[in-house]
């Protein structure tokens, strides 16, 4: 079985069927499929057979984990790093406020996605992994270790946002759309695809990202101690900086192991690409929210 990285439709057969599906969609001028072709294959039109061979090359890999890391670094940290990552090197008050308002909604979905993954498998190491993740992201540990969500709210409050305002402000449309895609993937597809959609995204704050070829990190580590951001912001960023290495890399090992076991490597790759597209829009929504707050 193959899965389309744009519309997520299941296709019987192999790569030729996948290539023909995408080729047909571009002939119908479908924007989503053309965007995928532009980003992963080429901007220049070819004949169908050449196109299919190029599609096969996109998915070729010796290690799924390395393939995911490579695609993620290329998209968010490559020649043109994402505007949100650039803004985070020396973040302004409004970039961080935009982060707080939109990420609150992201994390609310995150915990539900982790729960959906748990409900879609009987494999205990996966369930334990997701439970640990829910705990650190959403629940925290006792009175001493706040959750990532709590640290996010404190960051927003440190720049003057009211907690109830963060809760009552509706997410921007791109955030809503991304959340609904992640909800669908985690509920209705396999647990491995759900894990791949969510945990590949934790690479964004992985402090080892420079070891994978990125010229910059998620933020300039100096901001944690030079007083340019509030101490609540430093606490929030530091927690993610430490946690996401463990979260994302352990998850990628589990994803590789079970995608091979279930023979769904290509569908997992497709879901990772779809999730990255949604994440791209979602990061832009953080910036748009910041601009909206600044111009209020």
């Amino acid at each position: 079985m193959m899965r389309c990285p744009t519309c997520l439709v299941e296709l019987e057969g192999g790569f030729p069927e996948l290539g023909r599906h995408i080729f047909k969609q571009q002939r119908l001028a479908d924007a989503g499929h053309i965007t995928w072709i532009n980003r992963y294959v080429s901007k220049t039109r070819t004949d169908e057979d050449t196109f299919i061979s190029k599609v096969i090359a996109v998915f070729q890999n010796d290690s799924l984990k390395e393939w995911i890391i490579h695609q993620f670094v290329k998209k968010f940290y490559g020649d043109d790093p994402h505007r949100f990552v650039i803004a985070m090197q020396r973040p302004s008050k409004f970039v961080l406020l935009g982060y707080a308002y939109e990420h609150h909604h992201f994390l609310k979905q995150w915990v539900k996605s982790c729960a959906s993954i748990i409900s879609n498998t009987d494999i205990e190491e996966v369930q334990h992994y997701e439970l640990d993740n829910i705990s650190s992201e959403w629940r925290g540990s006792g009175n001493t270790v706040p959750s990532h969500h709590e640290l996010l709210l404190r960051m927003g409050e440190s720049y003057g946002a009211k907690r109830e305002d963060i809760y009552s402000t509706e997410a921007l449309d791109p955030t809503k759309l991304a959340i609904s895609t992640w909800d669908y993937i985690c509920r209705d597809l396999t647990f491995v695809e759900g894990m791949a959609a969510m945990h590949s995204l934790e690479l964004i704050a992985n402090r080892n990202i420079k070891n994978y070829g990125s010229p910059i990190g998620y933020f300039d580590p100096e901001i944690l101690s030079d007083g340019s951001v509030t101490k609540e912001t430093a606490e929030f960023l530091k927690e993610g900086y430490m946690a996401d290495v463990i979260h994302s890399e352990v998850a990628l090992d589990l994803i590789e192991k079970y995608s091979k076991k279930l023979n769904i490597v290509q569908p997992v790759q497709a879901v990772v690409m779809k999730s990255m597209e949604e994440f791209d829009n979602y990061l832009n929504a953080r910036l748009e929210r910041g601009e909206m707050l600044e111009n209020k």
């Binding site: 002939r27 001028a29 924007a31 965007t35 901007k43 220049t44 039109r45 505007r83």
Partner: protein, 87 residues
Amino acid sequence: MCNATWGEYWRDIDGESMLFCCDVCADIFQTMVNKVKENTGWNSIDSVNLVGNYNKGRECSAKNGDEEFKYYFRTYSNGKFITFEKR
């Protein structure tokens, strides 16, 4: 807009039939033209020059006779504008 030679989508913009790869690129171009007109008060645009890409956004200049209007814009992947700024 995206320099792709895939797809084929035609739309009439300002009385001219224009070829795009898809409706999203046509939407972006049409919205951009409307925003330039709103900002300048021009009734028509002779030419536009765009430099950049989806990630960076696009630094542009539009001309109407001897007048020139410089601007920058960025969009979401569905074509919705995030930023449109006069330069």
